[in-house]
């Protein structure tokens, strides 16, 4: 049976908690064996999804808190990582992974669900390919094709500092408070035994992929790439990332289907929490609302996104401005 290389790096520096598995991905791309790796950062830091603007992180707050910021090659948003999160990465040659991204993610996260269940966590994969218990996400994931390898990363969250995770986001205070409120509800820790989780993940990925797990370490080529990746990830140019357009509005995705949006149009401003395609809570302002803001907010609560324009139309010109503001949000990703 072909081998699944298992590399358990244990506790590593914040930088190496990113660059080690990127180096393994380059190794797998070059013909190295399929690999399952584990690590946990020795200290808190902030990670940026590949396409995210650096300005989405509150760099000043990160500096004050002594949090380094690193851009990763997988997708997703601005995330807070610390020593209470056990990270895993499954890395495979691109040719062995379904071409459909959705199917690839589902296939490569399913063994993680099995591992969660093996350690007593009632995990399920929902229709958005989030690993959840109830309505709360319990595993932050991301994926990328790196040269000719595909890597899917995830974590066992033993403890989660919701306040710290919200604090590193560059948002107005009222928006950050709303993000924190939704994080408390939709992002949950599952304090399982991490050694048992690692063992269960090794067994589950080996079984699912038809591979024989075997302990291993980075090859010479991967050690070379590691040094180059260390330099790259510390560079200003890499941290700045690819060219991005100026955003039309501020929005934060808490988990799939759960967003907080803060948008302005002319003199109108709206902060809306969106859960499952409906506005759960809204705060609005417009100088022409003449004290009707509370009525607008009450009327928007529970409204499906497709019906927002119709509801706001009843409030005349300020309603149309608020609709134009909310239309700037793109609730995907």
């Amino acid at each position: 049976m072909p081998e699944l290389r298992v590399v358990d790096f244990g506790r590593v520096s914040a930088l190496r908690s990113q660059t080690l598995w990127h180096a393994l991905a380059y190794g797998v791309s070059r013909g190295g064996p399929p690999t399952l790796s584990f690590m946990r950062p020795s200290r808190p830091y902030v990670g940026l999804g590949y396409h995210r603007r650096l300005e989405e992180a509150d760099i000043e707050a990160c500096r004050e808190a002594g949090l380094p910021v690193f851009r990763r090659m997988v997708g997703g948003g601005v995330v807070y990582l610390d020593e209470h999160q056990q990270f895993f990465q499954i890395i495979l040659p691109v040719g062995s992974v379904p071409r459909s991204r959705g199917r690839a993610l589902r296939q490569l996260l399913s063994p993680a669900v099995t591992a969660f269940r093996a350690v007593g966590v009632a995990a399920e994969m929902d229709d958005d390919v989030e690993i959840v218990v109830g309505e709360a996400k319990i595993c932050g994931h991301g994926a990328a094709q790196i040269d000719d390898a595909v890597v899917v990363v995830g974590n066992l969250i033993e403890r989660f500092d919701h306040a710290a995770a919200a604090r590193v986001l560059a948002l107005p205070d009222e928006v950050r408070a709303e993000v924190a409120r939704l994080m408390e509800r939709f992002v949950a820790a599952t304090p399982a035994d991490s050694a048992a989780f690692r063992s269960a993940a090794v067994a589950a990925y080996g079984e699912a992929l038809g591979l024989e797990p075997a302990a291993g370490g980075p090859a010479a080529y991967e050690r070379e790439r590691l040094r180059e990746l260390d330099d790259r990830f510390r560079s200003e140019a890499w941290l700045r990332g690819p060219r991005r357009p100026d955003p039309h509005c501020a929005q934060v995705k808490v988990r799939a289907g759960v967003f907080v949006v803060c948008a302005e149009h002319e003199r109108s401003r709206a902060v809306a929490s969106v859960v499952g395609g409906r506005i759960e809570r809204a705060r609005v302002s417009d100088p022409e609302l003449n004290g009707a803001a509370a009525a607008v907010e009450e009327r928007l609560a529970g409204v499906a996104l497709a019906e927002v324009d119709d509801v706001l139309e009843r409030f005349g010109a300020p309603g149309r401005r608020l609709a134009a503001a909310l239309a700037k949000a793109r609730l995907v990703g």
């Binding site: 999804g49 396409h51 090659m73 997988v74 994926a143 793109r330």
Partner: protein, 155 residues
């Protein structure tokens, strides 16, 4: 007919523009819009297998790249992947509209949802692409069948 006026036909349940060439590896189309200038976009299968596109980023204009090198990147469902160029050339234009609104690629992949334009450095590479209406139709139908057989697409 797409918004750009291209002739669109349906092949195996997907829309395909027959007036251009295709790169089978990346499911990208290539349309010559000048003697040595090519416009590139994602075809319907490329769109389908990407899922809902959340982010697109492209190299800046003036960047030279070889065939197979990435002219940009695409993110869907927190999955980032390269957009590999089907041709060697220099990036002369990028579509800011799809960067601002990636859903445009899904709405009009053969028209307003184009990705980049290149000055083609080696016209000989065009011969490696799938072209000609009949050939495209047969190739695309076979691709759809293969994707369905492998479970990439729903039956």
């Amino acid at each position: 007919m797409s918004a750009s006026g291209s002739e669109i036909t349906e092949v195996a349940g997907f829309e395909v523009a027959l007036d251009r060439a295709y790169d089978p590896a990346g499911h990208l189309w290539v349309s010559m819009i000048g003697p040595d200038r090519a416009r590139i976009g994602l075809d319907a299968l490329g769109v389908e297998t990407s899922g809902t596109i959340a982010q697109l980023a492209f190299l800046p204009t003036g960047e030279h790249l070889k065939r197979g090198e990435a002219f940009g990147s695409l993110e869907a469902a927190k999955f980032v992947g390269p957009l590999a160029s089907p041709l060697t050339g220099t990036v002369t234009a990028t579509n800011d509209a799809v960067v601002a609104d990636p859903a445009l690629v899904e709405r009009d992949p053969y028209g307003a949802g184009w990705l980049v334009e290149l000055t083609v450095a080696d016209a000989g590479e065009l011969r490696d692409l799938v072209s000609g209406a009949d050939v495209i139709s047969v190739w695309f139908a076979a691709e759809v069948e293969d994707y369905r057989m492998k479970g990439v697409l729903a039956e």
